[in-house]
Subunit: 925 residues, 2 copies
C-alpha cells in the first residue's frame, strides 16, 4: 500500500486539518479560493507519525522522491529552480498541526541557500545585502532548529560585528558586514557540529523536514498539549509545509506583516495589524523590531494597502470568522502566507460575535458558539480605578486588557516557583519566547520591553485573558541581576507593580481597581443566550446589596439566600449570642423576638429588589458554635481579663498604701490614677462570668466533625423556635410586600435534610405560620416550600422527599464532601493537591462537579424525585453551579436552574445556552 504522503496546495482538501494540519489545509483552501499564495505543498501529519514511530527515525520510503516531484511543480510555478546557482528557488519549511499551537513547533526559512545559490540570489535580485542577510538568517535558523545549536552562539558573533561597526539596528549593517557574519555563522556550525554546513539543497530539505517532524515530540510542544488538554483525537502529528519563499526584505517596495481581520483587543471592525518595510516575517513576530500599525501603510504604500483590504475582505467573506493572517509583499506583490481563526480576548469575541450577526455573516447560534464562557471571566476582571492618581512608571502598548498587580520576576522559571507558592507575580521580560510559556501560566500579567501588539507576549497573554503591556521600551531588563531599570528607578525582584493592559501603563505598587461594567454587546449576546438556554440562571445572594448586584449581572432570581449571613453583623451578633447562651426556651424566645423584625426587614428589601423574580431563602444552616468565638480565643480572653483584674488590684493597693503613708494629698502624684474600686472589680467580674458562660457553651457545643454535626434542619428540629422565627420573618416580609402591591415569589428552603419526616416537621410550622400571617394581614400568600439536596440519603429518598418538597436544590458543596468523604478544608490542605498532580483525580471536585460520582447521584435523584412529583423543579446552588462543564451536566440531567455567585452569572448564562446548543454531543463516561 502506498499512502499519499504529499498534497500540492492545488489539490489538498481545505477541510482536512487532521491530515494536512491547520496551516496546510488553510494554504490549500486559500490557494483554491484564488488568494495569492506562494506555490508549495504539504506533507501529511500521517507521514509525521510514521516517521516518529520508526525506531530508526527514517523518512518513509519514497517520500523524498515525492518531495522532488512536487518541488519540480513549485519550480515550474515560481519560474525558479531549487539549488540552481543562477536562478535559485528558496523555500520555507513550516510545521502545522490540526490544533493551533502558536510558536510551539519549528519553522525554517530561506532553505535552499548555499555558497552557489547565494550567488544566484545576488544575480536574481541584484541585491547583495539582502542576499547575505537571507543567508545569515538561514544559517542561524537551520543551525538552531535542525542542528540544535543555541541562538546565543550566533547572537554573540552578530552583536560583536554590530558593535564593532556601531550599528544600532540590523538594517544598518552593510552587505560586507552581513557576509562576514554569514561566514562567522558557518564557522559556528562547523565548531558546534564538527561538520560543515550542509550545502546540498535536498539534504537541507530532508534535514529540515525531519526537524519539523521531531519538534512535534519536543518538550515545549508536549507541555503545551498537556496544558491545553490537546489529545491525540484532536491533533496527532504535525504536517510540513514546503512553500516557495517570498521576500519582504528585498528593498523598500517590500514588506512583511501580520494582521487580524478585526481588532482582537476590542473586536472593532477595522484594519488591524502591523508591518515592517524591508523585513522578513520573523522580525514582526519575534518583536526584534517594533513594527508600524497597518494604518500607516495607507499613506506609505496606498496600492498595496488596497490589496491588503481586499485580502482581508476575501478572508472574512470566506471563513465567516475573524482571521489572523500573515503576508509578505515582494516587489509590490502581496502574498498571503497563512491564515487561521484569530485568537481574541473576551471583549473582542463578544463584540465581533454580535457585529458579525448584525452583518449577516453568522447566525445567533454561531455567535454564541464562538465564545468560551470561561473567557467571559476576563470581562469581569477588575480594572484600574480611573481616579487612582498614580504616575505611571513606564508606558508600553496595551497588548491584552485588564489590570493586574504582583511581584516582579524576571524569568519564567522563577515566576513558576513563586506562582506555585501562591504569590501573585508579573513576569517582566525584554521579550518573551515560546519557552517562557510556563511562566505565563504562573503569572497575573506580562510586561515586555520590546515587541508589539502581535508579539509572542501579546498573543499568548490575550489568549489566556491575562493582562499584558508589551514594548515598554523605557524599561531595561537585566535578567541576570534580577532587576529592571527605569530611568534611575530600579525594580528588584519581589517589588510589587501594577500593569494596566488596557492603557499600557505600568505603576509601582498595588493600585485600586474597580469592577468592570457590561458592554452593550455582551448584554445583547447574553440576551440571545437566555433565549436559547433551557436552564435558568440564578444567583447566590444574601443581602439587599448582593441582590442588586445579582440583578445587574442578569440573574433571573436568587437561588440561595443564606439567612445566617444576616446574623453575622456587628449589631446582630450579640443578640444571636444571647439566643445561643439562653438556658431556657423562654430566654431563647426573647432573643429571637429581637431578631424577627431585623430578618423581616432584610427579607423585605431582598424581595423588593428581586421583584418579580423568585427568591429562595434557606433556613439557618451552620452549627451554632460558628457564631461563638473559639475555645482558644475565650480561654485567652478570660486569662487576660484575670491578669487585668490582678494588675488593677495591684495598682489600687499601691494607691492605698500611698494614701496611708502620705496623708497629705499634695504629696501624691498628679493626676492620681482612678482607683480600682469595688464597682470596677464587679464589672470585670461580670465580663469574666459572661465569657466563662460562653466558654462553657462552646465546650458543650463542641463537635468532632462539625461538617456532619448538629446543623441545618437538625438544629431546626431541636430548637424549633429558631426556624419558627425565620419562617415568620419570611412570610411577614412577603405579606408586607403584597400589601404594598409588590409581586414577590419567596421560596422557603430547608437545609441538611436526610428524611421526609424532617421536612414534614418543618412544613407543619410553615402551614401554621402561613395561616396566622394570612389572617393577620388579610391577604393570601403565594410561596413554595422545598429542600436542599446535600445529604446523600436525601438523594436515596428523593421519591419520598418530593411528596413534601415542591422543589429540590442540590447543595453540591456539601454533597461532594459527603460523596467523597472528603472534608474540603482538610482535603485541600492535605492530599488533594497530590491527588490532582498524580491524576488520581482529574479535577478538584469542589470546583468542578464530579459528574461520575456526585453527578450520578444527582441524576438518580432527579429521576426519582420526579416519579412522585411530575415536573418537580430542581436546581443546583453549590459553587460548581457557575462552572461551564458542570452547567453542561446540569442541563444534561434536566435541571431547571443553576445558581451561582453573581459575577459568575454571565458565564453561567452563556454556558447554559451552549449546553442546549451542544446537547447532542454530550455524554458522561
Amino acid at each position: 500500500m502506498t499512502e499519499k504522503y504529499i498534497y500540492s496546495y492545488n489539490e489538498g482538501d481545505g477541510k482536512n486539518k487532521h491530515l494536512l494540519g491547520g496551516k496546510g489545509a488553510n494554504l490549500c483552501e486559500m490557494t483554491q479560493i484564488g488568494l495569492n499564495v506562494p506555490p508549495g505543498f504539504v506533507i501529511t501529519t500521517a507521514t509525521c507519525l510514521i516517521y516518529l514511530d520508526d525506531p530508526n527515525r527514517a523518512l518513509p520510503e519514497g517520500l523524498m522522491e515525492g518531495v522532488k516531484k512536487h518541488m519540480q511543480a513549485v519550480e515550474k510555478a515560481s519560474g525558479k529552480n531549487f539549488g540552481d546557482p543562477d536562478n535559485p528557488l528558496l523555500v520555507s519549511v513550516r510545521s502545522g498541526s490540526a490544533m493551533s499551537m502558536p510558536g510551539m513547533m519549528d519553522t525554517i526559512l530561506n532553505l535552499g541557500l548555499n555558497a552557489q545559490t547565494l550567488q544566484g540570489l545576488i544575480k536574481q535580485t541584484g541585491d547583495e545585502r539582502f542576499s547575505y542577510d537571507s543567508y545569515r538568517r538561514f544559517i542561524q535558523l537551520f543551525g538552531k532548529v535542525a542542528l540544535d545549536i543555541a541562538d546565543e552562539h550566533f547572537d554573540k558573533q552578530f552583536e560583536t560585528v554590530k558593535k564593532r561597526v556601531g550599528a544600532t539596528a540590523d538594517v544598518d549593517l552593510s552587505a560586507t558586514e552581513l557576509k562576514e557574519i554569514s561566514e562567522l555563522f558557518l564557522q559556528v556550525v562547523r565548531d558546534k557540529t564538527g561538520k560543515p554546513f550542509p550545502s546540498n539543497v535536498y539534504e537541507q530539505l530532508e534535514i529540515a523536514i525531519k526537524a519539523v517532524f521531531n519538534s512535534w515530540g519536543g518538550k515545549r510542544a508536549v507541555d503545551y498539549r498537556r496544558e491545553f488538554n490537546i489529545t491525540p483525537d484532536m491533533a496527532n502529528g504535525t504536517a510540513v509545509n514546503v512553500v516557495a519563499m517570498v521576500f519582504g526584505n528585498m528593498g523598500n517596495d517590500c514588506a512583511t506583516g501580520v494582521g487580524f481581520t478585526r481588532n482582537p483587543g476590542t473586536g472593532e471592525n477595522e484594519m488591524y495589524g502591523e508591518y515592517l518595510v524591508n523585513a522578513q516575517g520573523e522580525d514582526v513576530v519575534a518583536g526584534t523590531r517594533t513594527p508600524k500599525p497597518v494604518q500607516e501603510m495607507e499613506k506609505e504604500m496606498p496600492e498595496l494597502y488596497k490589496q491588503l483590504v481586499d485580502l482581508r475582505n476575501k478572508l472574512e467573506g470566506h471563513y465567516h470568522e475573524v482571521q489572523d493572517y500573515e503576508y509578505t509583499i515582494e516587489k509590490g506583490l502581496l502574498y498571503c502566507l497563512q491564515t487561521r481563526n484569530g485568537k481574541m480576548n473576551a471583549a473582542a469575541m463578544v463584540r465581533t460575535s454580535v457585529e458579525m450577526v448584525n452583518e449577516g455573516l453568522i447566525s445567533k447560534d454561531q455567535a454564541l458558539l464562538r465564545v468560551n464562557p470561561e473567557q467571559l471571566e476576563q470581562l469581569l476582571h477588575p480594572r484600574l480605578d480611573p481616579n487612582h492618581n498614580a504616575e505611571p512608571l513606564a508606558q508600553g502598548l496595551s497588548a491584552s486588557p485588564g489590570a493586574a498587580y504582583g511581584k516582579c520576576v524576571f524569568d519564567a522559571d522563577r515566576a513558576e516557583v513563586l506562582g506555585r507558592a501562591g504569590e501573585k507575580v508579573i513576569l517582566v521580560r525584554e521579550e518573551t519566547k515560546p519557552e517562557d510559556i510556563h511562566g505565563f501560566f504562573a503569572s497575573q500579567g506580562i510586561l515586555t520591553s520590546r515587541g508589539g501588539k502581535t508579539s509572542h507576549a501579546a498573543v499568548v497573554a490575550r489568549s489566556m485573558g491575562k493582562a499584558c503591556v508589551a514594548g515598554a521600551e523605557g524599561i531595561a531588563v537585566d535578567t541576570r541581576a534580577r532587576q529592571a531599570r527605569i530611568g534611575d528607578q530600579v525594580l528588584h525582584e519581589g517589588d510589587i507593580i501594577t500593569i494596566d493592559g488596557s492603557s499600557g501603563n505600568v505603576y509601582l505598587g498595588e493600585l485600586p481597581t474597580i469592577e468592570p461594567e457590561f458592554s452593550e454587546e455582551l448584554k445583547t449576546l447574553l440576551g440571545w443566550a437566555d433565549e436559547v438556554a433551557q436552564l435558568k440562571v440564578m444567583a447566590n445572594a444574601d443581602t439587599p446589596e448582593e441582590a442588586l448586584r445579582a440583578v445587574e449581572y442578569g440573574a433571573m432570581g436568587i437561588g440561595l439566600c443564606r439567612t445566617e449571613r444576616m446574623f453575622n453583623d456587628v449589631e446582630r451578633l450579640p443578640i444571636v449570642v444571647d439566643m445561643i447562651l439562653a438556658n431556657t426556651p423562654e430566654a431563647r424566645q426573647t432573643a429571637l423576638d429581637k431578631l424577627l423584625p431585623i430578618q423581616r426587614g432584610d427579607f423585605k428589601d431582598v424581595f423588593k429588589t428581586m421583584s418579580p423574580r423568585p427568591v429562595t431563602v434557606r433556613l439557618l444552616d451552620p452549627p451554632l458554635h460558628e457564631f461563638l468565638p473559639t475555645e482558644m480565643q475565650l480561654t485567652e480572653e478570660i486569662e487576660n481579663l484575670r491578669q487585668l483584674r490582678g494588675t488593677l488590684k495591684g495598682v489600687a493597693n499601691v494607691l492605698n498604701t500611698l494614701r496611708v503613708s502620705q496623708p497629705n494629698p499634695n504629696d501624691l502624684p498628679t493626676p492620681l490614677p482612678v482607683p480600682f474600686d469595688e464597682m470596677g472589680e464587679e464589672r470585670v467580674n461580670e465580663i469574666i462570668a459572661k465569657k466563662e458562660r460562653m466558654l462553657r457553651k462552646v465546650r458543650e457545643l463542641y463537635e468532632v466533625n462539625p461538617m456532619l454535626g448538629h446543623r441545618g434542619v437538625r438544629l431546626g428540629i431541636t430548637y424549633p423556635e429558631i426556624y419558627t422565627m425565620q419562617i415568620r420573618a419570611i412570610l411577614e416580609a412577603a405579606a408586607e410586600c403584597v400589601k404594598e402591591g409588590i409581586d414577590v415569589h419567596p421560596e422557603i428552603m430547608v437545609p441538611q435534610v436526610t428524611t421526609s419526616q424532617e421536612l414534614k416537621c418543618v412544613k407543619k410550622t410553615v402551614d401554621a405560620t402561613q395561616q396566622q400571617v394570612e389572617a393577620a394581614y388579610g391577604i393570601k400568600l403565594k410561596f413554595e416550600f422545598g429542600t436542599m439536596i446535600e445529604v446523600v440519603r436525601a438523594c436515596m429518598r428523593a421519591t419520598q422527599l418530593a411528596k413534601v418538597a415542591e422543589f429540590f436544590s442540590f447543595g453540591t458543596n456539601d454533597l461532594s464532601q459527603a460523596t467523597f468523604s472528603f472534608s474540603r478544608e482538610d482535603a485541600e490542605n492535605k492530599f488533594l493537591p497530590l491527588y490532582n498532580e498524580t491524576g488520581i483525580l482529574q479535577d478538584n471536585p469542589f470546583e468542578v462537579l464530579d459528574v461520575k460520582g456526585v453527578g450520578q447521584l444527582m441524576n438518580m435523584t432527579v429521576e426519582w424525585g420526579r416519579k412522585s412529583r411530575h415536573g418537580l423543579k430542581v436546581g443546583i446552588c453549590g459553587e460548581q453551579g457557575g462552572h461551564p462543564s458542570s452547567i453542561r451536566f446540569c442541563h444534561h440531567i434536566g435541571l431547571d436552574y443553576v445558581s451561582c455567585s453573581a459575577p459568575r452569572v454571565p458565564i453561567a448564562r452563556l454556558a447554559a445556552a451552549l449546553a442546549k446548543l451542544q446537547e447532542d454531543k454530550y455524554s458522561v463516561d
Copy 2:
C-alpha cells in the same frame, strides 16, 4: 348486611385468630379437638372495631340478642340458667386479641351474681363461704374493670375486716366475714358511682362486654402495642369470650393452676407449672398466694394429676409447640380454660427446638423458625461467677435466668427516669402489675417479694430476656419510704444489688460474672442454621486472641482484621510515634522497619489460628493524629515539665546557697537532695523538645472533620511506605505459613477508597511485593485483593472498582455516617435521641442498617459491581452486620457474607438461616 358477630366454641374456626382472637380461636380449637373446655362463645374482634368506631359507643344492633341466644346454648350445655335464683349460671368475660398481650386487657369473672343468684349459688353448692367469696371477688373485679373504681378502695375494706378478725390468709375468712365484705363492697360501688351495683345479669353482661372492648384502646394496651411494634395488620381489636365459670374454690377437691408443657426456663421436657387448691385462677397469676409446684399434685390429687398429664400430651400433640395453659378443677373435674404458645427464654427455646426435632414433632426448619435470633443474646449474657463466695441477702424463685446488677428502685416511674439517664437499675416490687411495664424496659432485672414463676413479673421478664427473681418473701418492700427491709438490713434507693435469675439469689453490691458457654443444643441448632443459610458469617477480630474467640463462636473466617489495633500496644506505640514524627521518608522507613517483623508475627498468628478459613486484613485506616496525644494533653505536659524544671532549678539554687553559706558539709541536711545539675536539666530539656515536636506535629495534623480527613487509602498514597510495609508483612506472614504447610487464605483490603485510581495505585505495590516475596520464599502465594465500600462515591463507581477489586466489603459504620451526613459521635449526643423519640427516625442507623437509604446504595453497588466482575464476592463488616434485620437485608441483596463482633456471630448465624427461610416474605418499602 348482618355480620356474624358471635361464634360458639363448637363452630368457630380455630385458625382464625384475627377474627376470634388467640384465646377465642384456641378455645374453639380445644373444644373441637375434644378437650374439656367450659361451654361458651366468642364475640369477634370485628365487633370490637365496630363498637369502638361508633361515636356513641353503642354495641351493634342485634348483638345482645345474639348473646342471649348463645347464652341459652350455654345454659343448655351447663344445665344452669343465667340469672336463675335457684340454679344460676355464672360466666367469665375475657378479652383476647390476635397477638398475645398478657395482662394488658381486662377480664371479669363470676359474672351473673346478684343478691338473688347468690342465694341460688349457695343452694346449688351448699357452700355459703365459697359463694360469698365469689360474690365479693366479682363485685371488686366488676367495680374495677367496668365501673373504674380503684382496687385500693376495696382492698382497704378487705384488710380492715381481715385485720379485725386476725386472719392472715384469705382462706381464713369465714362466710359471715365474706358476706360483710360483700356488703361493704356494694357500698363502695354506691359511694363511688352514685348508683347501686347493677343487679340485672344481662345488664352486667352488656357492661362487661363493653368494658373489655374499651380496654383495647386503654393506655396500657396502646403502650404495649407501640413498644412491641404490634401494628393493626397483626392484631386489630379484641374478641370477647363468654365462658361458663368453673370453680376452683369450691372446696379441697377443687384447684386452679397454670402450666407449661415443658419447662420454660430450661426447656426440659417435664411437667411444669403451679396450682393452688381451693382457689380461683387470679390467685395464681396475681401472686397473692404462693402456689405449689405441679409435682406435688401427683401425691395430693393423683387422679387429677393423670388428667393433667393427659391434657398436656394432647396439647403438644396437637399444637406441635410448647403450650402455656390454664386449668381449673371443679369438684374433681379438670377443665382446660386457655392455651397459647409458651413464651420461653432463649435457652429453653433452643433446647425445646432441638428436642422437638429429635422427637419428630417439628422439622429442622421449624425448629430454626421458632427462635428469635436476638433472643440468643440472653445466652451470651454474663452469669455469676460460681466462686464469688458472697452470702445471699435473700432468696427467691429463679424466674428468668441470667445475672444482673444495678441500683435498687422501688417503682416503675423512678426506674424509667434513672434508666433513661443511663443508670443500671433493678426494679424491686412487692409484685408487679401490667402498669409497671415501662419500668421493665428501663431495668436490668426484676426482683419481687411475692408471686411465683408464672407471676406477671416472671412472664414478662422472661419474654424480655431480663433476669428476674420472684417471690423473695424475706424482702419487705416499702415503696413510699423508697426502701426495703431484709431482716435488719435496709436497702435504700440507689444501693447496688445483684440478682441471679438462675439461682433465685439476691446479693448486696456488684458481683463478678463470667461469660456463658454454648450448650450442646445451641451448637446443634446453629449447625442446622449453617446448613440452611446462604450468607456466611465472619467475625471482626484484630488479634490472635480475638481470632480464637471468633472460632469458638463459629465464625467462618475473619471479615475484618484492623491492623491499627496492632499498633496500639504499649511497646509498639512509641515506634508508631517515631514513624509519624519522621521528617524524611528515610526516618519514616527506619521506624517502619521496626514495625514490619511485629506485624508479620501478628498476621502469622492470626492466619494460623484461622486456618483454613479466610482472613481479611484491612490496611491502616485511622488518621495519624489518633496515635498521638491531644493538643491539650501535650500543652499541659509541656507546661508541667517547664514548672518541674523551674522547681528543680530552685532547689539547686537553694542547695548552692546552702553550700556557700555552710562550708562545713556536716551542717547540711542529710541525706542531701540530688542537685539539679546540668545533666538533669539537659534531660528535661530533651523531653520538652520531643513533646514540643509532637505538639507541632499534632497541630500540623489537625483536621476540622477527621471523619472525612486524611485517612485510609489517602494516607496510603501520601505515605506509600506505610502500606508497603503492611502489604509486605501480610504476604511474608502468608509465605511463612505456606512454608510450614499451613493452609491460609489472606485477603488484603483497602479502606476509604473513592476512585479506582487509588486501588490501582495500591495494587501496584501489592503486585511488586508479591513478586519479591514469592521469589524470596520460593513459593506461590494465593490471596485476594479487595476494597472497603464505605465512601458513597465508591458505591457510585462500583463498576469501575470491581475491575480492580476481587471483593467488596461494605463498611456500613462510615457509609452510614456519610449517607446521613451524621457524625456518629456528635449525633448520638446531640440530636439522634430526639430523632428516635419523635419518630423522625425509627432506629439508630448506626445500630440497625438503614435499608431505605444506606441499603439502597448497597443494593445498587452490588448490582453495578457484579456488572464488571461476575459473581463478585461482597460482604459487610460494619457494626450492623450482626443485627438480624440488617442480615435479612444483606441476604435479600445477595451479599456473600456478614462480619460482626465475635459474640454476635451465633445470632448472625441463626439470622442468616432465617433470612433464607423467610426470603419470600421480605420486601423493602
